[in-house]
């Protein structure tokens, strides 16, 4: 027998301290965490981390911070299960475990010089925020930039200050599924805003993130406007325990979402998304 250390380091988190907690809306919180020195790899927009809460468990959460400010790790989390519920209750000074980044990034470079169309639904805006940060600071690199965001109602608009009067106002449009008269904006589903009148789909690259139903309908609306499936990208969500392609849980047809995803071209996954309970 020999004692081998370092046999499983890939699955050991680094301890990290919460610096800031911001409530976005009901049960949705953004945490800013000090980046541990041992996490040496910088994240790319679209990638995710595994976040661990002491004694509760570990889940995959997309990066939603600024890709140029890598000293802080930022995640927007919605309380839907026991780990995410514990995460949103963390306060500044509390500790958590982090490992990552994992997964495929949004193909932002592929969109350079072209029309970039970003379509987000609900909390699906969070994994796209790093893209919006990066693109906003280099607008000239793209021919045009459009952001279409659909959410449930005016009280659940993520990063609301970025839209009205904020840096995304000039290229972003919001629509909600329903509203009362206090709301001045659009009401209707996100695909209502995918129209030839407002989007230039020629030489365009589209990035879509949100519930699977919303991504399927949005991608198909873009295809109806003449876009090719391989120029449309979606971000997938599956159960994950290891994030290093060994627990087998995140399989989606032939793909491991932790390695082949979360970002995949619609052409790659279109057929699979149509299979119920895959």
């Amino acid at each position: 027998m020999k004692d081998d250390r370092g046999l499983i380091s890939a699955m050991v988190p680094a301890a990290a301290r919460v610096l800031r907690r911001q409530v976005e809306y009901d049960e949705v919180v953004t945490l800013e965490v000090e980046r541990p020195a041992t996490l040496t790899k910088e994240f790319l927009p679209g990638q995710f981390n595994m976040l661990y809460v002491f004694g509760v468990g570990e889940i995959a959460v997309s990066h939603s911070g600024h890709p140029f400010h890598q000293d802080r790790i930022v995640h927007t989390i919605r309380a839907v299960g026991k780990v995410s519920r514990a995460l949103i209750l963390l306060k500044p000074g509390d500790w958590l475990g982090i490992r990552g980044p994992y997964g495929t990034p949004w193909p932002i470079d592929h969109a350079k010089g072209q029309n970039l169309i970003v379509v987000a639904g609900g909390l699906g805006l969070a994994p796209l925020r790093p893209v919006l940060y990066e693109v906003s600071s280099a607008k000239d690199a793209y021919r045009s930039m459009r952001l279409i965001y659909g959410t449930r109602d005016p009280s659940s608009i993520l990063y609301q200050s970025q839209f009205e009067g904020g840096p995304w106002a000039e290229f972003g449009q919001v629509t909600v599924d329903s509203a009362n008269l206090d709301w001045q904006g659009n009401v209707g589903v996100v695909t209502d805003l995918i129209s030839a009148d407002t989007l230039d789909t020629e030489n365009a690259v589209a990035l879509i993130c949100g519930p699977e139903v919303m991504m399927r309908f949005s991608a198909n609306a873009l295809i109806d406007l003449g876009m090719r499936e391989d120029r449309i990208y979606v971000s997938l969500e599956r159960n994950m325990k290891c994030a290093v392609k060994q627990c087998g849980r995140c399989q989606f047809g032939p793909y491991f979402v932790c390695r082949d995803g979360p970002v995949a071209s619609f052409g790659q996954v279109d057929k699979l998304l149509k299979i119920a309970e895959l």
């Binding site: 599924d177 589903v189 695909t191 519930p211 309908f217």
Partner: protein, 155 residues
């Protein structure tokens, strides 16, 4: 000065109809303006008119006690207000209201129904313009019912 025919052609929905049909349709139309907050149609009223929005913003909504007026669709330039005029009992299903000053072309439904009855080609051409709008609204309604961003959705 632009004629009503010109205005119809400027709106996406009907512009591809052939000129003689647009001429016929425009005979049933006139300009209308709704002040912000004014009702364009009310739930349960006879569907005597329908509208093509030229400028401004309107809503489709319903009143829910305790929640007030709930908007489920906003409409703007080029959008259609009212499809209930097409088939009996010609009764409006929901409230439509101007959210801001709204300019529209108002069509006399009775006039148009008579033209369609007399000229089935026109009727068919018009249905081919209206059915996609109806399908689109139905699809949207189903997605809204699914509440995909809600607590039980996956978003």
């Amino acid at each position: 000065m632009r004629t009503l025919t010109d205005l119809i052609v400027e709106q996406g929905l009907l512009k591809e109809l052939d000129p003689s049909k647009i001429e016929t349709i425009s005979g049933c139309g006139k300009n209308a303006v709704f002040e912000a907050g004014a009702y364009i149609q009310k739930e349960g009223d006879p569907a005597d008119h329908f509208y093509l929005v030229r400028a401004g913003k309107a809503s489709l909504e319903t009143f829910i006690p305790g929640r007030g007026n709930v908007i489920f669709k906003t409409l703007s330039e080029g959008d259609l207000v009212g499809v209930s005029w097409l088939v009996p009992p010609y009764r409006s299903s929901f409230d439509a209201r101007a959210l801001e000053e709204c300019r529209a072309i108002e069509f006399d439904a009775n006039c148009l129904r008579q033209h369609c009855e007399a000229d089935h080609d026109l009727g068919y051409a018009l249905l081919m313009k209206f059915v996609p709008v109806i399908l689109d609204r139905m699809r949207s309604a189903r997605l809204q019912i699914l509440d995909v961003y809600g607590p039980d959705g996956d978003g």
